[in-house]
Every structure is written in structure tokens, then in C-alpha cells.
């Protein structure tokens, strides 16, 4: 029954968008706007839960279930692009359809569930907005939900692409929500600029996605995802590699992987709930999701898999290093997000797709929680984001502090919080593959993962210490304004904290639970994504020792942070300009933006100027020359108009005679 309502899941938020977008600013009260927006998402969530529960009992035919094929429900709504058939008779028509299987089930639950919490949180966070802005914000959020759900549920690549572009649009709209505000005073970047940057960077990736899609259409003759995946084996390695790499380029853009990650830190220009929803929990994971969704294709392309692994590992490590030196509370979280996304990609790259999704889910919980907590802090600090002007907030914001601490422990990988299990699943996957392949390079990847885990623990602890511990460093005046956020904001925090604490238990590694607590997420997903099963071979380290090493490194990170930032009084922060060497490099984010500016944008600008010059001089010149030639010809031709009737009549008569001659010849 609920499965039949699958189409409502994206449609309800979309209806909310229309209602709020068209009427909200003028006719609806704040309360009504909030009610509409939240109710739409809640309804989606409810339907999602119902549909997922029903999916368990659903099987197209018993035979399929017995054969081990995944439980999948596909709903085709209408023929979108009727393109007829090929000469061979293959159907080229693109249909608008949604499909629900375990992978998308996990995603819609995460998206609608966390989305709903963030919606509720936003009511409190955006209370100071004018009514029109309030309605606009919620209509954008609802639009985002609709698009994200379209992306997740889409049964064919074009539908996914619509959602893909839609979330990009919403990201742009929401990053630039305060389009009249300055985001970064030093670089003169406005919020609108940040939104543009995100959008354009995403577009670069989208080109890859689009090309990959078209390549698959050419090769497979269909755009239906399941059909493509079913034919993946027959496509050949070359096509698979090319398509996978192109799709991965899209994923890189959306999921902020090297080299297209630069937009995500700047995306913090948007309101904090947006950062939580879009740039931490949901949209940025779309790349990971699509990669997992197309897992059978990737499996056919080892080179692509390797690329994913390398890029993911590099991104994870790189962003983590930068994260250790950020002073802005949201920037730290942003680099953390990039790093964690790299982790997920890394997992996907080694074939541990279910681990990737697992981490995606847990990350959604604790990173949303971190962002919302940061939002609560910023809310309390009246917009202040520099962690060096905070400190000692533990007393003033007890609830926020508690939930934030849970999140920090979760992301730092301390058991039994969620992050521990998911991170361990990934590291175990890498290690297993390394053992199977006997590749030292993969061991290095594992080492990078472990190092990243340590760095993550380090900077998260640093963040926690600088914000909540120690003595207050904010001005006297700001100290009086400190207050705990209203319940409408704190309650989502509590719910998320619960999630961050316990979500890990759905994926307890088998050697730990020994059956009592099976890794049933992997079991659940196994029908949809290829599970990684190292059948045999050398394993360098035992799972136990590997887990211990990772845990030790994390604890070491925490300890190091404690040692550096737990002292009191805290030394004043070193300004970026004064720092030397590696520290400076980190503080300046490895000069990546500057490098991109010099290596890509400057030549590009030069090319633009050259093109403009070419356009003005050559193209316009040609047009002008044509005009001038016409003019000249007209000047000459006009001499024919002598004003003498006899001349005209003569020409007329001459023409008549000539025509007659040819007619009668």
C-alpha cells in the first residue's frame, strides 16, 4: 500500500515548495510556513518508513526472491521522452520512474529523517529572518528535499540527473540565501559568489555525469539503471572504465573530492541548517550514492575503482590536514565533511560499498549533529564563528555541549559510538582487499585512512576544546547574550545525538558480534551492491589488531589535541601570515584556491579575453565587413537608380525580351 504511494515521497516536499514559494511570502504566517514545510517532509518520512517496511514483504515474484535477487519495487509514472525503438527493436523510450530497493531505502530514510529534524531545527534558527525570507528559506528547503528524493529514487539516469541538477540548484540558492551579505571579507567573496562558485564547480562535474550517461545510452541502448547494470558485464572493460570515470567526475563535483572540493568550504556561506542538511548529510553524499548505485559497473572497471580509491584517500587525508588549522567553526566542519566524504569514496573504491553506505549513514547523523550544534553555538554567539573568540561554553549551553560531545566522540571513532563501527568497516575493507591483492599500495591507503582517523580525532577534539572548554574568550558584551537555544532547536539535537550514539550497531562487524549482533546492514544491502568478500589470501594484520591500531591512533589524536589545547591559559593563536613552513601551508589550505586561480582560472580568463578579442575583431569584423561590402555594393547599385524613367523602362523591356527569349528557346 505504501509502496504504491512511492511517487508521493518526492512530490510532497515539492508541493510544499510550491505552496510556500507562491503563497508563503505574502499570505501565510510564519507558523503556517513552518507547518507546511515540516509536515510535507514528515509525511514523506512516514511514507518512506511505511514503504521500506513494506519492501521487506514485497517480492515481484517468489522465484526472484529465491534466486537471491534484491527486493526491488519500481514504479513507472509516465513516458518522459518517447524516442521510439532502435532498428533492432530495442526500446529507447525514457520513462519517469521511481524504484525502491535497499540502497535507496537507506537513503530515503536518512534524507527524510534527518531532513525533517533539520527542518524543525530551522524553525528556531531562522526565527530572526523577515517573513518573506523565512518562507523563501523553507520553500527552498522543501524543493531541495523533493529534488534529493528524486535523485535517490530515480529509476533511470535522466531522472537521477534531474534530481542531481535540482539539488545543485537548491545548493546554489541556499548558499546564496543571504545574497546581499559578504561571506569572506579578506577575499571580498559575497554569499552570492560562494553560491556561484559551488554551482559552477558542480557544473564541471555534471558535464562528466552527462557524458557518462550519454556514453551508457550509446553503449547499452537504455538509460534505465537496472538495465544498464544488468548489461554492465557485456559492455566491455573499456566502456565501463570510461563511463565509470565520467560518472566519478560528476561524483567528485557533487561529493567534493579532489580536485573539485574547493566549493564546499565556501558553501558555508549558507545558513547553518543548510550546511547541515545539504553540505553534510545529504546532497554531498549523492556522489557516493551514485557510485554505489552503479557499483556493478565499477566492478567491471578496476582502473576506475583504483582512481576512486586514490582520490578518496587523498581527499580524506588532505582535507583532514587542512581541518587541523581552521579557525572558523563551520570551516573545520566543512573540511571534516570533505575528509569523511573521501573516506566514503575510499570505501567505494576498494569495493566495500556497503561500508561506504554505512559510513554515509552514520556520518549523516553525527555530521548533521555537529553542524546543528555549531549552529546552536553560532546562534548563541550572535553570529560569531571564530573559535578563538569562544571557549567555556559548556556552562552556558549544556545541552548543546552534551550532544556535541557525543558527535565528537562519534566522528573520532570512539566505541561504541556510530563512527567507530563505520570507520572500522571501511578500514577493514581496505585491509582485506590489500590482503587479497597483496598490494603494498593498498596498505599505504590503509595507513592513510588510519592517519586520517587520527587527524580527525585531533581536530575534532581541538574544536571541542576551543569552543566548550577552557575560559571564555569572547568580549564581555557577548558573554551576556549567551543562552541555550530554544527547545525547537535542541530537541533535534538530542534525537540526532541518540542516532549518532547507536546507529553504529546496525553494522557491527561479524567477528565482534559473532551472530548476536550481525552486520545486518551489509546483509540488507548485499542484494543491491556487490559485497566485498575476501575469500582467501594473506591478511597482513588480524582484524582485531587492525581495529586496535585505528582506535589507538584516534585516542592519540585526542590526546595530542588535549595536550595542545587543553592547557590553560591557552596561548593566543598564531596568525596565518606569521606562521612558517608547514603550518602556514595548512592554514592557507595548501594554497589550492590560489593554485586553481593561477593554473586554471588565469589561463581561462586569458582565453576568454582572447575569445572576446577574436569575437570583436574577427567575427564582428567579418560581419562588419559583410555589412560594409553590402553597403559598398548598395552604393554602387544605387547609381542604377538614375531617376530617368526611360532608363527604368529600358531595363524592364530588356528583361522582358531576355526572359521571353529563354522561355521560347
Amino acid at each position: 500500500m505504501m509502496l504504491r504511494l512511492l511517487w508521493l515521497i518526492p512530490l510532497l516536499p515539492f508541493a510544499g515548495f510550491l505552496l510556500n514559494g507562491l503563497l508563503g511570502a505574502r499570505y501565510l504566517t510564519r507558523r503556517a510556513v513552518a507547518l507546511v514545510a515540516c509536515a510535507a517532509v514528515l509525511a514523506s518520512f512516514a511514507i518512506s518508513v511505511g514503504a521500506v517496511l513494506e519492501l521487506h514483504n514485497f517480492a515481484p515474484t517468489p522465484a526472484e526472491t529465491d534466486a537471491g535477487s534484491p527486493a526491488r519495487f519500481t514504479q513507472t509514472l509516465f513516458e518522459w521522452m518517447p524516442m521510439g525503438t532502435t532498428p533492432e527493436g530495442a526500446d529507447l523510450t525514457v520513462r519517469w520512474g521511481y524504484s525502491l530497493d535497499p540502497l535507496s531505502a537507506v537513503m530515503i530514510l536518512v534524507v527524510t529523517g534527518i531532513g525533517f529534524l533539520i527542518h524543525v531545527y530551522s524553525i528556531g534558527y531562522m526565527e530572526h529572518e523577515p517573513r518573506a525570507g523565512f518562507a523563501r528559506f523553507f520553500s527552498y528547503l522543501n524543493l531541495f528535499m523533493g529534488m534529493m528524493l528524486t535523485l535517490v529514487l530515480g529509476a533511470s539516469l535522466p531522472v537521477v540527473f534531474v534530481g542531481w541538477e535540482g539539488v545543485g540548484l537548491c545548493s546554489y540558492l541556499l548558499i546564496g540565501f543571504w545574497y546581499d551579505r559578504m561571506f569572506d571579507e579578506t577575499t571580498k567573496m559575497s554569499c552570492a559568489d560562494a553560491g556561484r562558485k559551488a554551482f559552477i564547480t558542480n557544473r564541471i562535474g555534471d558535464v562528466g555525469f552527462l557524458l557518462g550517461m550519454l556514453l551508457l545510452f550509446t553503449a547499452a541502448g537504455t538509460l534505465d539503471i537496472q538495465a544498464i547494470l544488468a548489461r554492465a558485464g557485456a559492455l566491455g572493460t573499456g566502456v565501463c572504465t570510461a563511463a565509470a570515470l565520467l560518472l566519478f567526475l560528476g561524483a567528485c563535483g557533487k561529493s567534493a573530492q579532489i580536485p573539485l572540493y574547493v566549493w564546499l568550504p565556501d558553501a558555508m556561506a549558507g545558513p547553518t541548517p543548510v550546511s547541515a542538511l545539504i553540505h553534510a548529510a545529504t546532497m554531498v553524499t549523492a556522489g557516493v550514492y551514485v557510485t554505489c548505485r552503479m557499483a556493478p559497473l565499477y566492478v567491471q572497471a578496476p582502473a576506475a575503482m583504483l582512481s576512486v580509491t586514490v582520490v578518496g584517500a587523498l581527499t580524506a587525508l588532505f582535507a583532514a590536514i587542512i581541518g587541523t588549522a581552521q579557525d572558523d567553526i563551520k570551516k573545520v566542519l566543512a573540511y571534516s565533511t570533505v575528509s569523511q566524504l573521501g573516506y566514503m569514496m575510499l570505501a567505494a573504491g576498494v569495493g566495500a560499498f556497503s561500508a561506504s553506505i554505512f559510513h554515509l549513514m552514520t556520518h549523516a547523523f553525527f555530521k548533521a549533529l555537529l553542524f546543528l550544534g555549531a549552529g546552536s553555538v553560532i546562534h548563541a554567539m550572535s553570529g560569531e564563528q571564530n573559535i578563538w573568540r569562544m571557549g567555556g561554553l559548556r556552562r552556558h549551553l549544556p545541552l548543546t555541549h552534551a550532544t556535541f560531545a557525543v558527535a565528537v566522540l562519534a566522528i573520532a571513532g570512539i566505541p561504541p559510538f556510530a563512527g567507530f563501527f563505520s570507520k572500522d568497516a571501511i578500514l577493514a575493507g581496505v585491509l582485506a582487499l590489500a590482503g587479497q591483492a597483496g598490494s603494498p599500495a593498498l596498505l599505504a591507503v590503509w595507513a592513510a585512512g588510519v592517519l586520517t582517523a587520527g587527524l580527525t580525532a585531533f581536530y575534532m577534539t581541538r574544536l571541542y576544546l576551543l569552543v566548550f572548554a577552557g575560559v571564555p574568550r569572547m568580549p564581555e558584551e557577548a558573554r551576556h547574550h549567551l543562552h541555550e537555544s530554544p527547545p525547537v532547536m535542541t530537541r533535534p539535537l538530542i534525537v540526532l545525538a541518540l542516532g549518532a550514539a547507536v546507529a553504529g550497531f546496525v553494522g557491527v562487524p561479524e567477528f565482534l558480534g559473532g551472530g548476536s549482533l550481525p552486520n545486518w546492514l551489509q546483509v540488507y544491502l548485499s542484494g543491491t551492491v556487490p559485497s566485498f568478500h575476501p575469500d582467501s589470501g594473506v591478511i597482513y594484520l588480524s582484524e582485531w589488531s587492525a581495529m586496535a591500531i585505528a582506535l589507538l591512533v584516534s585516542v592519540a589524536g585526542i590526546a595530542a589535541a588535549w595536550a595542545m589545547y587543553g592547557r590553560r591559559p591557552l596561548p593566543a593563536p598564531a596568525a596565518a601570515a606569521e606562521a612558517r613552513g608547514f603550518v602556514r601551508l595548512i592554514k592557507e589550505k595548501f594554497f589550492v584556491d590560489e593554485a586553481i586561480d593561477a593554473l586554471v582560472l588565469a589561463p581561462y580568463r586569458w582565453l576568454c579575453r582572447a575569445s572576446a578579442a577574436f569575437d570583436e575583431k574577427v567575427v564582428d569584423g567579418l560581419v562588419n565587413a559583410a555589412a560594409a561590402a553590402t553597403d559598398l555594393a548598395s552604393q554602387l547599385l544605387r547609381l542604377v537608380q538614375t531617376g530617368y524613367v526611360a532608363g527604368y523602362a529600358f531595363a524592364f523591356f530588356l528583361g522582358t525580351v531576355v526572359v521571353l527569349f529563354f522561355v521560347m528557346r
Partner: protein, 216 residues
């Protein structure tokens, strides 16, 4: 025979046109009359034939047309045009278009040409100076073109499909009468007829507006 008569007609028309002095006209006219009488005496059958008269009228028509073009005095041109119109009216008669013949005289000769005479009188035009054939490349070119056109026309008419040889007696008695034209005009060509009336009104207003010295 026809050729001979034509030659005489040419001479006659030239005599009439160029030497309109009575002293010279009288002997020429007398000679012409004498030749005519001689011809009647020689071959009266020929004189009664349609071909003979058609040829004669045709030569007069051509000559008068030529004189319209050649003669420097506009008034003389008008007069020769009237003569030409009469010739064409006679052709109409030969072609059994009796109504057209009369209409030709009434409208063309009686109305349109009067207008020309009127304007020539009103403007008191003098003979055009420096009018001579072969003056300037355009004029010679025009004559060459005219010859070419005429040659093309001759070629076209010569090569057209076989046409019936008409017998005047075989015609329907209603052909060419006012009744016949009226019947067509008020049935099949009703719209064109009404349109023509509008055209005439428009032309009338236009002419008044153009020619009036000051519109009050």
C-alpha cells in the same frame, strides 16, 4: 496585290503626315484615287475581300502608330493615335466584336483621347526639340530591342499550334453583342466589374486631387 495596296497606303499615310500642304496633297490624293479606281477596274473581287481591307487597315494602323512615336508634335501624335484607335476598332468589327468596336470609339477616341487633347491644349505644348531616331545609345538600343522583341513575337506566333480558320457565317449571332458582354459582365465577372467601378472612383479622386491647384 495586298502588298501593292499596302505600298500605296504607306505612301498615302506619309503624304498625309509629312506634307499636309494642300498644294501637294491634292495631286497625291488624286493619284491615290486614280489608283484605287484602276484597282477596282482591275480586280474588284480582291477589293471586296476581307483580306484586302484588313491589310489596308493594318498598314494604316502600323503607320499611324509609327507616326505617334516619330512625330515631334504631341498634338499630331494624339491625332495619329486616334486614327490608330479607329483602325483597331475596325479590327474589332472584323473580329465580330461589334460592341467592342463601338466602345473603343466611345471610350478611347471619345473620352480618353479627348483628355489627351485637352491636356496638350492646356499645357500648350510645343514640338519636342531634338527628337530624332538614332540619337544616343539608349534610343538605338531601344530600337534594337524593339526589333528583337518583334522578331521573338513573330517567331512565337509562327510556331504556335494549329489554329482554326474562322468562318464568319458560322458564328453564334449573340457573339460580340452588348447583350452577350452584359450577360458575362453581370454574372461571371460581377466582382471584377464592381472592382473596376471602385478603381474608376479612386482614379477620379486621385486625378482631382493631383490636378487641383489648391485643395479647399
Amino acid at each position: 496585290m495586298v502588298l501593292l495596296l499596302g505600298l500605296i497606303a504607306v505612301v498615302a499615310v506619309f503624304a498625309l503626315a509629312r506634307t499636309f500642304v494642300p498644294a501637294r496633297t491634292v495631286p497625291v490624293g488624286a493619284a491615290l484615287g486614280a489608283v484605287m479606281v484602276a484597282l477596282v477596274a482591275y480586280d474588284h473581287q480582291e477589293l471586296a475581300s476581307l483580306e484586302f481591307w484588313s491589310g489596308l487597315i493594318g498598314f494604316v494602323a502600323i503607320m499611324s502608330a509609327l507616326l505617334v512615336v516619330i512625330h515631334p508634335n504631341p498634338m499630331v501624335s494624339v491625332l495619329f493615335l486616334i486614327l490608330n484607335l479607329f483602325c483597331i476598332a475596325l479590327f474589332f468589327l472584323i473580329l465580330n466584336a461589334q460592341f467592342l468596336a463601338v466602345i473603343q470609339v466611345i471610350i478611347y477616341a471619345g473620352a480618353i483621347m479627348v483628355l489627351f487633347v485637352f491636356v496638350v491644349m492646356l499645357l500648350n505644348l510645343k514640338a519636342e526639340e531634338g527628337l530624332r531616331l538614332g540619337g544616343g545609345p539608349q534610343r538605338s538600343g531601344a530600337v534594337v530591342l524593339g526589333v528583337a522583341f518583334a522578331a521573338l513575337m513573330f517567331y512565337a506566333i509562327r510556331n504556335r499550334g494549329a489554329a482554326p480558320y474562322f468562318e464568319p457565317e458560322s458564328f453564334d449571332s449573340g457573339f460580340g453583342t452588348a447583350r452577350g458582354i452584359g450577360r458575362l459582365l453581370f454574372t461571371r465577372y460581377q466582382f471584377a466589374f464592381e472592382a473596376a467601378s471602385i478603381l474608376l472612383i479612386a482614379a477620379m479622386i486621385g486625378a482631382v486631387v493631383l490636378a487641383k491647384r489648391k485643395l479647399r
